[in-house]
């Protein structure tokens, strides 16, 4: 009996803990939005900042009077860098806290983990990080860059402006680099680059001993053709990688490295003097010269009470996503998921690089691609800015997805329409 009571108590505690804790404090006239970013564990390093941005955006919006005359309330949870926990927390936010939309996730794994939850419970997720593409969900908005909004323009820049002919595609061994490198390889070969001029290299997460690989890059780069490294190396492994590059004396003038996962935040942990000239491709840099950006940075410094905090691309993506959602809700006059999903398509909001970004029917957005060179102060000097590019969810350079498109407007309402067969559902066999 003792045991029974205890087990019962445990179960009850479990249920209690997960049923709306926040509900008790929520006033009637607020609209709740969920913030689903890891605050502990390995991903906290990147995601904590995004949680702060969301809190700032909510605060700013409330100063402006909220949405639909109601105040916004952010419900913050910690999925602790644990992918199944992401799904659990998403479920909690949607079904217990009844949030109107969720802003969150960083890694593809976390997004993949919550995707079925959002589709099942019909809610909305704004995903603010660059990713490998090859996905389009009715319930997710991808405000980070798709490969064509980051990788391909960067490669173009190197080929055109720096005359690069030989390519090292170095990445951490996970899905984003694998896919991006597949796309890039297909793209480069379509541009006439020979297979022997492409070297692909993968390393484990958190790889810290780069001696051999940097030497290999040096070796590969001494074939007399201009060589560049396209890096999809993930967060933590970058610092030792760049340190090794600097120490082995690889200068940007000799072998430039263009990275897709290195932004202001990552550089903050580095002495960038030896890295000057290495590149990154994003849709936003803190150094963007636009009044809206200056305003944003000012707010950010005021909000965090730290004028050294940097801003970065995923923050801009969160900013765009949030504003697009606000605008869509006001247009729809409700936070009802289906209505918002309808009204958000075509919504244009200012982005931080001085233009506007539009939510496209494929749930990706338009934004310009910026190429920046690392400066000695840890910032990027923008050396090229393209006009706005539409995020392409299905790459044109992968054989199985080149025929696919996504359009969530009625009547098509399909995430994987095959233009060859004219049917929704991939190959449609």
């Amino acid at each position: 009996m003792n045991f029974k009571a205890r087990l019962g108590g445990a179960m009850l505690a479990a249920i209690m803990s997960t049923t709306s804790f926040h509900g008790a404090f929520a006033a009637e006239d607020t609209i709740k939005i969920g913030v689903l970013h890891s605050l502990s564990g390995t991903m906290a390093i990147s995601e904590t900042t995004l949680k702060d941005v969301m809190l700032m955006l909510v605060e700013e919006q409330n100063k402006k009077g909220g949405v639909l005359g109601k105040k916004l309330e952010a419900v913050v949870v910690d999925p602790a860098s644990d992918w199944p926990l992401f799904a659990e927390k998403a479920r909690q936010l949607i079904s217990q806290d009844k949030v109107a939309a969720v802003f969150g996730c960083w890694t593809s794994s976390s997004r993949k983990s919550v995707l079925p939850v959002f589709e099942e419970l019909n809610s909305i997720l704004f995903y603010p990080v660059q990713y490998e593409g090859e996905e389009s969900s009715r319930n997710i908005f991808y405000t980070g860059a798709a490969p064509n909004q980051q990788a391909i323009p960067a490669v173009d820049y190197l080929a055109e402006k720096e005359g690069v002919q030989r390519w090292v595609l170095a990445g951490t061994d996970y899905v984003y680099p694998q896919t991006t490198n597949k796309i890039l390889k297909a793209y480069l070969m379509s541009k006439g680059v020979k297979a022997e001029d492409i070297m692909i290299n993968y390393t484990p997460f958190g790889h810290s001993d780069w001696q051999t690989i940097v030497t290999d890059i040096k070796k590969f780069g001494s074939a007399g053709k201009k060589t560049a490294v396209v890096s999809t190396i993930n967060g933590d492994a970058n610092v030792p990688f760049y340190k090794e590059l600097a120490n082995q004396g690889i200068k940007a003038e000799d072998i430039p490295v263009v990275a897709f996962s290195v932004g202001e935040e990552e550089l903050a942990g580095l002495d960038t003097t030896p890295l000057v000239g290495h590149l990154a491709a994003w849709n936003y840099f803190q150094s963007v010269d636009a009044p809206v950006n200056a305003e944003f940075i000012k707010e950010w410094h005021a909000f965090t009470k730290n004028d050294k905090r940097v801003t970065n691309d995923p923050m801009e993506a969160a900013y765009i996503g949030f504003n697009a959602w606000v605008k869509a809700v006001e247009a729809a006059g409700t936070t009802d998921t289906d209505k918002v999903l309808d009204s958000i398509i075509g919504v244009s909001v200012p982005n931080l690089s001085g233009g506007t970004s539009t939510v496209m029917p494929n749930h990706h957005i338009t934004k310009p691609v910026l190429i920046g060179e690392i400066q000695s102060n840890g910032q990027f000097e923008i050396v090229q800015q393209t006009p706005s590019v539409v995020g392409d969810e299905w790459s044109d350079y992968l054989p199985d997805s080149k025929n696919l498109i996504s359009d969530w407007r009625k009547p098509m309402s399909c995430g994987n329409f095959n233009v060859a067969t004219g049917k929704c559902g991939g190959k449609g066999s």
Binding site: L39, S40, T42, A44, I45, T48, T49, K161, E162, G163, D173, N201, Y202, T203, P204, G206, H207, S208, D209, Q211, T212, I213, T215, D216, K218, K219, G221, S222, A223, G224, K225, D236, V239, P240, K243, E244, A246, N247, Q248, G249, A252, E253, D254, P256, E265, E266, A268, G269, L270, D271, P274, G277, L279, E373, Q375, S376, E381, V383
Partner: protein
């Protein structure tokens, strides 16, 4: 229509650049203010061709991002920060030209291609500098970005050069320039010879890039030179791999050596060991932060200062952990695992709360930056120092254990606690200080690791498993085992990596360790006998 206007515009621009070509350097520099990257490259070529040494400061400023154009009149100045304003300096004469607010000036942008051209131009222009070192680096610059334009400058400089080393370098630079010029075939053949004798990857690179434009009759010479370099490189590659292995091994040794005490000697499965390393790295960060703000001239000493600081901080934390938690758990090794894991979670989250979750910048002192060549080996200074540092910690510890009174007491307590205490040794304090020593050494390791890895709250976790592997592989309770274990795992890893890749290499090493433990359940340097199992 639009296209028409554009082409007109381009023509005008082209004319403009053309016209300034004839004029003086001042006009050329001012033209930089309006040029895009492509045009700037042309302009730099002309500036270099003018061979006018007065432009050197302007080009250096351009390279450093200190060259600005005044918005009002398009005049270009070298600038220095002066409060909120910029102090303007005339680019040619070097005379002060007043100040201007930052808003009134635009920085001249620079990209990698421009940097390359600049390097070559500056190289050519400074070949005649009175400073020997400047000439040497100028020759280097020319060698690394050879261009036909520089050839005559190099030859002129060569004629005047008296310093032996500089002269040799200039010969090489000349050879490289010859290859990209339109000199006759026999001169080029000699140049190939010269480049070939430099050896190394850079030489291959120069030869390969030149080979496309060379006369077909020179092809065999190039091939011969390259294959000669490559055969010597193959030999050096082996050495390079061994060096990488040793350097990786020394990192493992650093990470594991504190654990060799807390785990190896005391038998505590210290899962918080990694966090001690992490805290040591943060101590380095704090020391550098203080130095940056209050005594920047001491920066090169920051690591030397950080070592005792890290040792004391982590040692103190270790002392607290031992007194507060571990002393209740002696004789229950598996439970020390749980408790110290809990400690590690708390330490991690504390650091995260104080310093934030993001990486912190720890700089390399100048003596730890860059690399040097030893024969065909390229050895980076930071790795060399880390190898030296970890070995000195190792031997220091060995001496402490074998020679000092504390070491004697420590061994006495771990071997026979009751006997030791009956001989008047205060075993409780010996335990506490032994643990503090292990933690302190982990902290010192953190100082060194901050030089090659991220300084973030996760730093420790990435080393903890490797550290345990090293200690277990080497044999618990044996410092020499830890040394041999670390170095052999490092070398093994580095020899596997090129053939199977980094990921599979690591997996294979783990599997090998598991198999090895089956063969020798107590590690490489296990003590044999019946006493152990009792």
């Amino acid at each position: 229509m639009l296209r028409f206007f554009l082409s007109i515009l381009l023509m005008i621009l082209a004319l403009a650049t053309q016209s300034v070509a004839q004029s003086d350097p001042k006009a050329l520099i001012d033209a930089l203010g309006k040029a895009d990257f492509k045009q700037a490259e042309d302009l730099l070529g002309q500036i270099a061709a003018s061979a006018d040494p007065r432009v050197v400061p302007a080009l250096e400023a351009f390279n450093d991002g200190d060259l600005y154009v005044r918005k009002s009149d398009g005049a270009v100045f070298i600038t220095r920060a002066s409060g909120a304003n910029l102090a303007l300096i005339d680019p040619l004469s070097g005379a002060a030209a007043g100040e201007a607010p930052k808003g009134a000036m635009t920085k001249l942008k620079i990209n990698n291609s421009l940097r390359r051209v600049l390097r070559s131009a500056l190289g050519g222009l400074t070949l005649l500098s009175p400073d020997r070192n400047v000439r040497l680096s100028a020759a280097d610059a020319v060698l690394r970005s050879p261009s036909a334009e520089n050839l005559e400058l190099v030859e002129a400089a060569l004629a005047k050069e008296t310093d032996r080393e500089v002269k040799a370098r200039m010969e090489e630079a000349r050879a490289a320039s010859v290859l990209s010029s339109d000199r006759p075939v026999d001169q080029k053949r000699a140049a190939i010879e010269t480049i070939g004798s430099i050896g190394g990857r850079d030489a291959i690179s120069i030869l390969m890039s030149a080979s496309a434009s060379l006369d077909a009759s020179l092809k065999p010479d190039v091939d011969r030179a390259i294959s000669k370099i490559q055969s010597s490189l193959a030999f050096w590659d082996l050495g390079q791999n061994v060096w990488y292995g040793i350097s990786l091994g020394s990192v493992l040794l650093l990470a594991a050596i504190g654990l060799a005490i807390t785990f190896g000697v005391m038998g505590i499965i210290n899962m918080a060991h990694g966090e001690m390393v992490m805290i040591g790295a943060y101590a380095t960060f704090m020391v550098q932060e203080v130095i940056r703000t209050s005594a920047p001239q001491l920066f090169d000493w920051s690591l030397a200062i950080a070592v005792p600081v890290a040792f004391l901080v982590t040692g103190a934390i270790g002392l607290v952990i031992e007194r507060g938690v571990i002393r209740f758990l002696y004789g229950r090794p598996l439970e020390t695992l749980l408790a110290t894991w809990g400690v590690s979670l708390i330490l991690q989250q504390t650091v995260r709360s104080i310093f934030g979750p993001t990486n912190r910048e720890v700089g390399n002192p100048s003596w730890m930056s860059g690399s040097f060549a030893l024969g065909g080996l390229s050895i980076t200074w930071n790795r060399l120092w880390i190898v030296a540092f970890s070995l000195s910690i190792f031997f220091g510890l060995l001496i402490l254990m074998k020679r000092s009174a504390f070491g004697l007491q420590m061994r006495a307590v771990t071997q026979n606690r009751r006997m030791a205490s009956s001989m008047g040794i205060r075993t409780a304090w010996v335990d506490a200080f032994t643990f503090a020593l292990g933690s302190g050494i982990a902290g010192i390791a953190g100082v060194a690791l901050s030089q090659i890895d991220n300084v973030s709250p996760n730093l420790g976790q990435s080393y903890i498993i490797d550290s345990f592997m090293v200690v277990v592989f080497g044999g618990v309770g044996n410092l020499w085992g830890t040394l041999v274990g670390a170095l052999s795992l490092g070398v093994l890893n580095k020899f596997l990596e090129p053939s199977v890749g980094a990921v599979l290499g690591k997996i294979l090493v783990l599997v090998l360790i598991i198999l090895f433990i089956q063969k020798r359940p107590r590690g490489l340097f296990a003590l044999k006998g019946r006493a152990i199992e009792a």
